[in-house]
């Protein structure tokens, strides 16, 4: 089997800048990236790469294949790929300096119980224990780029220690010092983890919950919690409110193809209500009957991400009740964060779908083409939280030109925007700059946190995907009117 791939080359001792070299070599059927590298090494003995066990157990050989961290020994090689080192200081070619990150992973400090743990405790800690310290997570963590954050696997280790009764030292104060609250819960880390250790949910949010019980939640996070208790919303009411502008039932134009419940979320209700109104118009236009229970409240995501769980049951109960009491079997969200929360942190008797999912499933009336070049920002809570990537592109494809750009967190999530505004802004600025460099006229997304955050830092307009569709329909109607005249 003949494989051609580009490999990153850089020797800091003698090269002024990194470069790529393309190699074509023969490997056996089913060969992994590592076997390709072995074959290249025979051609060019100067190529540096690290490997050891060859079976996905030691974590020596992580590299980026087309930008995504993988274990070279486990990932099947494909023709035409680009192989880069992890996003860590490069020692040479594909070899990076792992030491600084590894040294942060100290073990338990005995002092607590010293006997065999019971089965339940062991089973609780085990999901955090499979880490092979390959540093794929560290390579993709946005917070580490701008904050003093020890990183995902260091937090995993803190949680592993916090759960272990043999270690009675104070893990929480240390975790906070090491940047516990700077994590945006973007989920990048565990999506690339070869062992699929859910660090945000199983370590970060859990550590924050312990911090909360110890009274160590950030003051801004506590204010948000109080606001939710008082008002049912995580942000104060702005100039207008979406819920106050809409009736409870909105009938579609023409035949009813589907009836759904609509979950608006705090941000679209109070801060970006116009986008939500556009969404309703798009649903109506496509034969979808929308029921909007007005007693719906915050989904609780701001509480879960920040470890403040006491009031969560109340919110969950009220929201579930709001939809089940109306016999709704499908609830549509348009906020990626709410969608991810309802899907993963709720036990709902109804199905939850993101608006882009329901529209692509049912198929939509084609809007008119708009003379716009847009770039699409995938929200972390849609891409990683719900595994949604394609629907937005399917919907937008015939309406605008899309300029693709690799996904990255905008820094608005995980309570970072309220709790660590400097870090959140730094990430927001970086992401906005990246998106602007695509040359797009408009930045489009499907998450109010991303839209609001990017709108603050980008010097061009940021729109919700349904706003673009709605504009497409308006253009279509205008053209029809011109034609009929």
């Amino acid at each position: 089997m003949r494989i051609t791939a580009r490999i990153y080359r850089f020797d800091p001792v003698c090269d002024t800048a990194p470069r790529y070299e393309t190699f074509t070599v023969d490997v056996e059927h089913g060969a992994r990236v590592l076997h390709f590298l072995h074959a290249v090494h025979e051609r060019d003995p100067g190529l540096s790469y690290r490997y050891c066990c060859g079976t996905g157990q030691c974590g020596s050989c992580a590299v980026r294949m087309d930008g995504i961290p993988v274990l070279a020994c486990m990932e099947e090689v494909r023709d035409g790929i680009t192989i880069d080192p992890l996003n860590l200081p490069v020692k040479k070619d594909l070899v990076v300096d792992m030491q600084p990150a590894l040294e942060r992973l100290a073990g338990i400090i005995s002092g607590g119980e010293d006997h065999l743990l019971d089965r339940d405790t062991v089973e609780t800690i085990k999901p955090l224990r499979g880490c092979i310290e390959c540093l794929a997570c560290v390579s993709v963590c946005p917070a580490m780029e701008v904050a003093r954050f020890a990183g995902p696997t260091a937090m995993r280790q803190e949680m592993r220690r916090a759960l272990d009764p043999r270690d009675n030292s104070d893990r929480i104060t240390e975790a906070i010092r090491d940047g516990l609250f700077t994590c945006t819960t973007c989920q990048n880390c565990w999506k690339v983890c070869p062992k699929k250790i859910e660090i945000p949910a199983k370590a970060i949010e859990k550590l924050r919950a312990i911090a909360n019980r110890m009274g160590l939640s950030l003051p801004r996070h506590r204010e948000v919690e109080q606001l939710i208790r008082d008002t049912g919303r995580s942000i104060p009411r702005g100039k207008s409110s979406f819920l106050e502008q809409v009736p409870e039932v909105i009938e579609p134009e023409g035949k009813v193809r589907k009836t759904v419940g609509f979950f608006v979320g705090c941000m679209y209700d109070f801060r970006l209500p116009d986008a939500a109104l556009d969404a309703i118009e798009v649903l109506r236009r496509n034969g979808i009957r929308v029921i909007i229970p007005h007693e719906q409240v915050c989904c609780g995501s701001p509480l879960i991400r920040t470890g403040q769980l006491q009031y969560l049951d109340n919110l969950q109960r009220r929201n579930i009740q709001a939809f089940t009491s109306r016999g709704i079997d499908t609830v549509v969200t348009m906020c990626a964060g709410c969608g991810s929360t309802l899907k993963k942190d709720y036990c709902t008797p109804f199905t939850v779908k993101d608006i882009t999912e329901i529209l692509t499933e049912l198929g939509i009336e084609e809007p008119a083409c708009l003379p716009l070049r847009i770039t699409y920002h995938d929200p972390c809570h849609a891409l990683h939280g719900q595994g949604i990537q394609e629907p937005a592109r399917i919907l937008l494809n015939n309406v605008v030109d899309i300029i693709e750009i690799p996904q990255k967190c905008c820094g608005a999530g995980g309570g970072t925007r309220s709790g660590c505004p400097d870090i959140s802004s730094a990430l927001g600025k970086r992401r906005a700059e990246e998106l602007v460099t695509t040359g797009a006229d408009v930045i489009v997304s499907c998450c109010p946190f991303c839209e609001y955050q990017l709108g603050e830092f980008a010097d061009r307009s940021v729109k919700n995907i349904t706003t673009i569709l709605h504009e497409g329909y308006r253009e279509k109607d205008r053209l029809a009117r011109v034609h009929n005249r």
């Binding site: 059927h29 060969a31 992994r32 540096s48 050891c52 590894l102 073990g107 085990k126």
Partner: protein, 543 residues
């Protein structure tokens, strides 16, 4: 003398797997300790790859006597009785110590350490952490090391042990990427470099399993025993080809997996009807090799290992690594059988040690797979991880307790190393062509089935390979050249020892020898080999 990087310590530990890490932790109690890792500590060696478990007598119904007997019987009575006694008696203490240090081995519903059945054992005494037991053990040691004062030199190969007359006084290390030398003087040195079945074409070992310790010890004058005893693990993966030999843990059979040939016959009934799939590794490996050789294997030259009859939850909880690995390679072991064939796994032989971990030369201790005698002619699954801890601690303590000395480093020895490095720059044979020829020759003629003729043929190949001038294109290739030379030397020790043993015993099968005795009545004991002498020890035949 170019090597201007110098270090001095009380104890130098070479090798960072389970044995080396344990030795360093122990030695550090007595003085400055340096640990050299050829890779990155925690990632190298075979410990983090060990899947099955750790044997320890922990429950009523089991006993040390039973564990000893199983070990002797499994080892074809070639084991050193004193070493076995210590292994069996101290393994539980070391296990409990690991637990105190933070290990998370699986716990059964009665809140005792979970234990599973392994081949050749009459009691389920193999403690485990799913099928990532070695990783769990290594993580525990690593966490402990990170909390300790042990000084670690990462990504360094040791190219030679330093001697002052007959005493080892440290080592010369080389940075694997830059090719720069570091001279380390030590009051005492512990060799814990692990095994070396990378000398075979098909092997379970990590990239570091190149037999360096056997070569270093031999060149320094230490005696090695039973080097012909190479364990072929019965079940290695056969696909993808480039990852052939990858370990499929014995825990798969321990959990109830069965072996089937291409005709769907559960063939173990013909080889060991009593113990079936949970017979000892030597017997199962030969059975599989025979099935394949006689045409009853699959098209990829394997047999089937099947767990599809087990509940999915059992596979997911107890064999997560296997499940994940095979899924990556396109096989869902919950629904379809694995294809497996024997793979070179473990070298039972190694440096001759005392119960204290002393080798035959002063100043040098050894522990773990690089040492010989514990496992005899065949190792029981689960005894290797236990060995790393029991003898790692002992060797570390012995080295730690040894007195401080003022050793003088002989500049001539450094110069010899430097000259060899220079030679590599002017050589013309790429190291990987040598390792590939070596691995094929070893697999073909020094593998599961052996004859004098085949062994001599392999020896000829090795000598030819050793005589060639290896070439290094860049400084990082220098380490590869040294490693390949070590592989050739380690291979020659295996082959020469195999020629010294005129019998079939345990893992060593001489097809050209007819014998009238079995393991119990064999007139032979250890083979031994050093730069000074070689031969086979005779023993009184038990009546």
């Amino acid at each position: 003398m170019r090597a201007d990087d110098r270090a001095s310590c009380h104890v130098l530990v070479i090798g960072s797997g389970g044995a080396g890490a344990r030795a360093a932790i122990e030695a550090e109690k007595f003085g400055d300790t340096i640990l050299i890792s050829k890779s990155i500590v925690g990632k190298g060696g075979c410990t983090p790859m060990a899947e099955g478990g750790y044997n320890a007598v922990l429950r009523t119904g089991d006993s040390c006597v039973l564990h000893e007997e199983d070990t002797f019987r499994g080892g074809a009575y070639l084991n050193d009785p004193d070493l076995v006694r210590i292994l069996v008696h101290e393994s539980p203490e070391r296990f409990e110590e690991l637990i105190r240090w933070g290990a998370l081995f699986d716990v059964s519903h009665d809140n005792l350490p979970a234990q599973r059945s392994f081949g050749g054992q009459r009691f389920p005494r193999t403690c485990y952490a799913g099928d990532r037991s070695g990783h769990e053990l290594m993580l525990t040691l690593l966490e402990h090391l990170r909390n300790s004062k042990v000084h670690i030199l990462q990504e360094m190969v040791v190219v030679e042990l330093l001697k002052e007359r007959d005493r080892v006084i440290g080592a010369v290390g080389m940075n694997t990427r830059k090719g720069e030398l570091t001279v380390i003087r030590a009051d005492s040195t512990v060799l814990a470099t692990g095994g070396g079945t990378r000398i075979y074409d098909i092997s379970t070992n990590s990239a570091t399993g190149t037999g360096d310790g056997y070569a270093l010890g031999y060149r320094a004058g230490a005696e090695l025993i039973d080097m012909e005893m190479v364990q072929f693990h019965p079940t290695g993966a056969v696909y993808p080809y480039d990852a052939r030999g990858r370990l499929v843990t014995e825990a798969v059979r321990g959990e109830g997996g069965i072996l089937l040939n291409a005709r769907d016959e559960r063939f173990m009934v013909r080889y060991d009807p009593e113990r079936m799939e949970l017979s000892t590794r030597d017997i199962v490996a030969r059975a599989i090799a025979t099935e394949i050789e006689e045409g009853r294997g699959t098209s990829r030259k394997g047999v089937y290992l099947d767990v599809t009859h087990l509940p999915s939850e059992q596979i997911e909880e107890r064999l997560p690594v296997m499940l994940e690995q095979f899924l990556k390679f396109g096989v869902d072991i919950r629904k379809e059988p694995m294809e497996v064939a024997p793979t070179a796994h473990h070298i039972m032989g190694g440096l001759r040690i005392t119960t204290e971990g002393r080798t035959t030369i002063p100043g040098l201790c050894a522990c773990g797979e690089v040492s010989g005698g514990v496992h005899g002619a065949n190792r029981l699954g689960g005894n290797a991880l236990a060995e790393t801890q029991v003898f790692g601690k002992r060797a570390g303590e012995t080295a730690g307790r040894s007195p401080s000395r003022t050793g003088r480093i002989d500049p001539l020895q450094i110069e010899t190393v430097e000259n060899r490095m220079e030679e590599f720059y002017s050589g013309d044979i790429p190291p990987w062509t040598v390792s590939r020829r070596l691995q094929r020759a070893m697999w073909d003629d020094a593998g599961i089935f052996r004859t004098e003729e085949g062994l001599n043929r392999t020896l000829g190949t090795i000598e030819e390979l050793l005589a060639g001038a290896l070439c290094a294109a860049t400084p990082q290739n220098i380490a590869e050249c040294f490693t390949v030379r070590n592989m050739c030397l380690a291979a020659s020790l295996v082959v020469r020892s195999a020629l010294l043993r005129p019998e079939s015993r345990g893992a060593h099968v001489r097809r050209d020898v007819k014998q009238s005795w079995d393991a119990l009545t064999s007139p032979y004991s250890h083979t031994y080999i050093s730069v000074y002498r070689e031969g086979i020890m005779r023993r009184e035949v038990p009546k």
